[in-house]
């Protein structure tokens, strides 16, 4: 099946491959992630033209701490896989895949906002759901759900010019 095909094609790059509940999950090395994703998108056997989701899961007691999770989908072949990259808690970063799928732009921004994972090469990595002066990353397990933060003063648009999209 797909899991065998992907293992045969990218043997060395895959650290772990699992099939649970009819869903295939691959764990890969972050250094070679970008080429891996490009190949998955471009090669006709896989044809993963649709990036469904980018998110992360925080496991504070594990090492490495974070799992960055990508859900991929092929609109033409109607198959899905999940790809994970494990990253360290002290310096969490992965390579951005904005160059592969446009959808990664906002999804990676949200993942950065919520977990503090840095997507290297992202053209515009800033907070998206929280405001700029928000401190911390709310979906980390060590962020208390009922923590309060001060109300931010209103920003004068004349003094602070508005943002550009890029």
């Amino acid at each position: 099946m797909l899991i065998e095909k992907i293992k045969a094609r990218f043997g060395g790059e895959i650290l772990d491959a699992q099939n649970a509940r009819d869903e295939e999950t691959f764990t890969i090395d972050r250094e070679r992630a970008y080429d891996f994703f490009r190949a998955l998108r471009d090669e006709p056997d896989f044809d993963f033209n649709f990036l469904t989701d980018v998110t992360a899961v925080d496991w504070p007691e594990r090492k490495p701490r974070f799992e960055v999770v990508y859900q991929l989908n092929s609109l033409n072949l109607a198959h899905r896989i999940r790809v994970k990259i494990r990253v360290d808690g002290d310096d969490p970063w992965v390579h951005s895949v904005v160059g592969v799928w446009g959808a990664a732009d906002w999804l990676e921004r949200e993942c950065f906002d919520m977990f503090g994972i840095v997507f290297k090469g992202h053209p515009d990595l800033r907070r998206i759901l929280m405001y700029d002066s928000f401190e911390g990353h709310p979906l980390r397990k060590d962020y208390q759900y009922n923590k309060r933060q001060p109300i931010v003063p209103e920003i004068d648009p004349v003094v602070n010019p508005i943002r550009s999209s890029r």
Partner: protein, 404 residues
Amino acid sequence: MALPARWKDKIVPSDPSDEIMELQMGPSHPAAHGTIKFNLKLDGERIVDCDVEVGFLHRGFEKMCEQGTWTQCFPYTDRLNYASPCINNVGFALAVERLLGIDTTERCKYVRMIMSEVSRIADHLTCLGMAAHEVGGSTAGMYMVEAREFLYDLIEAVTGARVTVTWCRVGGVTHDLPADFTDRIKAAFARLDQVLSDCDKMLSRNRVFIDRMAGVGKLSQPEAISYGLSGPLLRAAGVAYDVRKAHPYLVYDRMQFEIPTGDRGDNYDRFNVRFQEMYQSKRIIEQALAAIPEGPVTITDPKVVLPDKQKVYNSIEGLMNHFKLIMEGIHVPAGEVYQAVEAANGELGFYIVSDGSGRPYRVRVRPPCFLGMGALNKMLIGRMIPDIIATFGMINMIGGECDR
């Protein structure tokens, strides 16, 4: 006009013809039905740059889901896309059921599917009605909002609430369809048909409406795929992708229906796709009502479903069972699952992770309109300010779902 001498060095007269004006539109703008901010750079009325700011309705959905039991997430899911809450309920329930490895009853699947389709029609009516209203077609807008009321009446008859339904549970639903549901559907559809036909006449070939919609907010097919658009936005660009067909869930694989598509990927195609989808949803409901089997609407596995109140109040086993499920929650085996359903706006996905305890370890929602908003700036650059309203209306951003 001569300037006072003291301003001489302070003010540099600029040439108004090449000046870029910065304008912040929102976050509470009367023409945009949602809390959203556009940071615009304008050359006259032409949009040079548009930075879309979301997050004003962020309430920490994913964080709050981690604080309670699996069942306690259902009220939160109502508040994602509050124009079609039944679909969110169904999506979350399906995800947890897959992680548990259980299957619901046959009748429950039909009931969930019927209510999803009723909600889809209600959602499309909201979207199209509001969009028509914002580009000047107020009459059609009011007609559609009235028609939505017939469907909300149906939802209320089944779930007891119009919007905050909290109607699904893991393993089933709280209420079966009422005995006279088929008659109610017939009556509602008869009136809905009239409204749809009226609105079709009012809008589909209306010169003003077409001028505002056709060719506006265009996104080519490769761009739409790359930006992760789904639902009517992707289908308007000519991709016949529908989760109900590509990855069938419930009993959609037994139903006959078509996927309406467009070919230009502009707002007018999005309008048409949504309009045609309502007829397809009606087809599904009619088929489902003809084929729905009798039986219970929930399973009776005591590890998942609360026992009957009779047992709770009259036996110690029932009482303990109830207590354990309420206090500890359903014990979902450790693991992860991604379950997508076709919501009114596109692929609504739930990626849930369990560590084996009674509480979710992580609940992630893949919100379809968040991705649509991510592509909005591509659709708008080079267009005029009024096009923002039409395009934004057709993306159908629902703050509860986009910002979570």
